[in-house]
Symmetry: C2
Amino acid sequence: MSTDNKYMQLALEHAELGRGNVSPNPLVGCVIVKDDKVIATGYHKEFGGPHAEVDAISKVDGDLKGCTVYVTLEPCTHHGKTPPCADLLIEKKPDRVVIAMEDPNPIVKGNGISALQGNGIETSVGILVEEAMVLNRVFITNMIEKRPFVTAKFATTLDGFIAQRDHESKWISCEDSRIDVHKFRSEIDAIMVGSGTVRQDNPMLDVRLAKGRNPKRVVLASHLQLPLSSHLLKDENANENTIIYCTNEAQNIKLVDQLRSEGLNVKSISKNSKGKVDVSLALRDLLKEYHIGHIMLEGGAKLFSEFYELDFIDEIITYQSPKILGSGISPFEYIRPLHLSDDSRFRLAKTDVIDTDIKAVWARK
Amino acid sequence: MSTDNKYMQLALEHAELGRGNVSPNPLVGCVIVKDDKVIATGYHKEFGGPHAEVDAISKVDGDLKGCTVYVTLEPCTHHGKTPPCADLLIEKKPDRVVIAMEDPNPIVKGNGISALQGNGIETSVGILVEEAMVLNRVFITNMIEKRPFVTAKFATTLDGFIAQRDHESKWISCEDSRIDVHKFRSEIDAIMVGSGTVRQDNPMLDVRLAKGRNPKRVVLASHLQLPLSSHLLKDENANENTIIYCTNEAQNIKLVDQLRSEGLNVKSISKNSKGKVDVSLALRDLLKEYHIGHIMLEGGAKLFSEFYELDFIDEIITYQSPKILGSGISPFEYIRPLHLSDDSRFRLAKTDVIDTDIKAVWARK
């Protein structure tokens, strides 16, 4: 591995330390090297907090003459919650800045690199760029698509079903798989379910089996067919953590008022041609109003199918158990049937054995 | 690892060298050790050929005084195609014989060990017994169940389907997965399909994508609804390698005569309560008359479902691809639906990534 790759790898590892706390900001790591020795490291620790470059530079006395700065994302040039990092680097005068990837944010893209170069600082761009893009796939989707990154998660039987035909789905996967899901919940910003899943499963969608914070719970309920007694509407986190999307039709007005009077967060938005909540509007709203950069779909088949048809699924995580059902509910059974001659939108990115199950991550091609 | 485990592991590796050539005999390996040095190795190379002990002992001059003999299966005591190995060992007088597992064959079981002990040879039994049982799971099933070991193999989409609803199933898995299947075909004795698969897919069921011999092709066709032009009935291997099972009903007699006059091997056997071929009789016949120790089911869903209901599936091999269909044919869709509260008969034994797919082996618990 080249020297640049070695230090960029270290910067990527530091970036990873911010996971779960920075969304919808990017994960960024920074390593400062002098005479082939690491003299400081830093990373973006929390949403709105100091950027990775600031964190690392704060640990070095004086300027950065003779230093190379490795940073996983192009230094920013805009005044956001913190001053521009490019200005700080220009002030500290490192010999060279090595950057994994350009900032996909249109108001930064390329400007940080130009600013450094215009001030006589040598730059190298594209070191471990693929790894950096995987690391910040959520941020990239947020910036380019203006919506949260969407992970669809489901457990299936050996023969591919996510529930019995009568909707019973407890428990397909093993306890260790469920713990793994709870750990993942603590790293993302929100979980989304359809109203059918609330009625049939009455899920809590919290982090009980692992340590970490609870994500927001988002319910797509076009016609507000939700039992008032369900966990998502009644538990101690309901007012703070539950967001309900329904259509802005007249027939919903009374129910919206009733739920709001209970302190619940109900948002009525335009309907699509099928009379259901316009998912693209809901997603934009979640990113813009609630800073939800990464959302996980946890069912049911109608939700998975609608997101698939709209091409809003960025990643699928499956847990396959050894159970056999024979017949049951398939994850995408409401889509217009596809053909084997069609290319898949997904590719296998990762597999793990979790006790009795196979966990697989399928990434968007 | 203890010394015994080390040499038994070596004996197991030698046993493996016979794979594909000894069925329905067991895979057996033998290692002879003197003064902590391996002085000879042997294995059972082909059906009816010398046993592993004979193979190894033939490489040593004189007797085996001072030697320990490691053998993966209890030495035989019966006069079969070759003289009893226990007698040969008694004649050669090793100090000790280490045995992984007892012979499950009721006419040997325990007798080989008793014979050695009765003649003053120290014996140790059960070294790496689990590995030996996995190695000889086919032979054990043959001996105890009096039928071939049954592997059900299917490729599925990400969402669990083995074909489109219109039965189109080319190609779910990637080319490397298909090569892997052909390699496996060369190691087993026969492939079985239902008549629907012959009509819909017209498969060749041979070893084209890998090196090795072709297995027999067995068709369950209760009412002989098979196109005369299909590969399995017409290709150059049809008379030699295809076995067709139908019921012995009067309505089949004319078709049976016609197929036999074409040189085809048609066996008419008793029907079950549903008027179909009695699968248990067909399986016994395959082991007894054709020495088929290991058979692979390659579809379709009716065949998989019938074998599942009869509890004749010993192993499932799945290849899961990244394709999505939405709806399609499920592998066990003809079984009486099961419940998630039911225990699975299977456990995950092995996973591999094969190019774009996940290969998983699910073993009978």
